[in-house]
Amino acid sequence: MKSFFTLLYKDLLCEFRTKHAIYSLLVFVLTTVLVLLFSILDKDFSVELISSLFWIVSFFSTMTGLSRSFVLEEEKHTIMFLRLQSSVTNIYLSKLFYTIIGSLIINISITIAFSLFLSGFIIYNYTLFALTILIGSIALSSAATILSAIISRAEFKGLLFPLLSFPIMLPILITSVQLTNITLTNFTFENELNYLQFQLSYSTVLITSSLMFVKYIFEE
């Protein structure tokens, strides 16, 4: 447990010192929103379009930035030292929490950018929106972390990651879009709990199986 906190602290410290990932991600989010605004100018967006744009931006920024957690270690040849220092399970868990924190930051910044620039983005149900962001981030990160570990050992990393991650993350994206739809409209629905349960169960199963099998990825 101690080594897990050490590893997480190391990741956050590295990020805090260089700020490479977080700046590039924030610029990415801002660029996407601005491009959207320039292309539509003052036309109104429908709620469905806004919520799917929200999760498209979130998916691509998660994929480009945070997928690199394991890949960076492999490229810098530091994964060997990490494995000397602690077990693969601990490395996986620290990367998972790092990804969750990063994904939360991304989603919150997308929320801020959207509510600043998009007039149609009005949240009615704040509790549900916060839950959607939180559970959506956890679910996206649970898929991204294990896939990042898999990709780090393969060739053609840049090509393979979107191809592998998109279908695995799609159930999360579909349900997140539905949930965001619900929070952005003023109506009450009865099935929002179903979607949250779906995301929670999906990420639980993914994290459990990752914990079970992640050690085989680094076996030679």
Binding site: R153, L160, F166, P167, I168, P171, F198, I217, E219
Partner: protein, 231 residues
């Protein structure tokens, strides 16, 4: 295996004949007549081919996940070959299910592609398993290739369960069994005559035996290719 080969080809031939040949009448009087299913009429004959292919693809993906799990726990190369073979057969059969489903959709729902949740989910299943084969070909080291593709296959198997069984039931769609739909389709709804039922289950059996034979064949060629180092 020879028996399974001949048996499956015999059964599938019989199913093709008994699926296409019998007339559909309003009040069936003889054993060789099918009753009318309102809304489907002649199109229901696709049940004998569309449902079994989807069934076989689901079984093949689950079996592939199982063998990947076995490989990781035992490190026996045979299980890796079996997992790969089963995944490739599953890919073939889900392609067939997509095509038969699209044909059915054309005549029942109006167009080949309707963005029904089940059509979307089968496309993503196809992408998942295409990516599995791409991943296999992009790792050079033999042992880490087997390990990593087995781990990915388990992740893929988990999400294929969510794609096949859970997601299409949560979203509204045209396919039987979608959210808000009244019934589970003509077969699972239980409102169907005996002779359609018999043909349907015999067809399921025939396609399952066909899958077993294909799996055996692919495994044997896989072992031979490994011995010859033909990659």
């Amino acid at each position: 295996m020879k028996i399974i080969k001949y048996l499956s080809s015999l059964i599938i031939t019989l199913v093709i004949i008994s699926g296409i040949a019998p007339p559909i009448v309003e009040f069936p009087m003889h054993w060789y007549q099918y009753p009318i299913i309102p809304g489907l009429e002649d199109k229901f004959r696709n049940i004998f081919f569309h449902v079994p292919t989807a069934w076989v693809s689901t079984i093949a993906f689950l079996v592939s996940t199982y063998y990947s799990f076995k490989y990781l726990t035992s490190k026996n190369d045979l299980y890796d070959i079996k997992a790969e073979s089963s995944a490739s057969i599953g890919l073939l059969f889900s392609l067939l299910a997509t095509v038969t489903g699209a044909l059915w959709a054309k005549f029942n729902w109006g167009s080949f592609w309707n963005w029904d949740p089940r059509q979307v989910s089968i496309v993503f299943l196809l992408i998942i398993y295409f990516a599995y084969f791409l991943l296999r070909s992009s790792i050079k080291n033999e042992i880490s290739k087997n390990n990593i593709s087995a781990v990915y296959n388990i992740i893929a198997g988990i999400s294929s369960i969510f794609f096949t069984f859970i997601l299409p039931r949560m979203l509204t769609g045209l396919h039987p069994g979608a959210k808000g739909g009244k019934d589970l389709g003509p077969i699972l709804g239980g409102s169907i005559s005996g002779n359609i039922m018999v043909t349907f289950f015999v067809s399921l059996l025939g396609f399952t035996l066909f899958y077993l034979w294909l799996l055996n064949l692919r495994t044997r060629t896989g072992i031979l290719m490994k011995e010859l180092k033909y990659d």
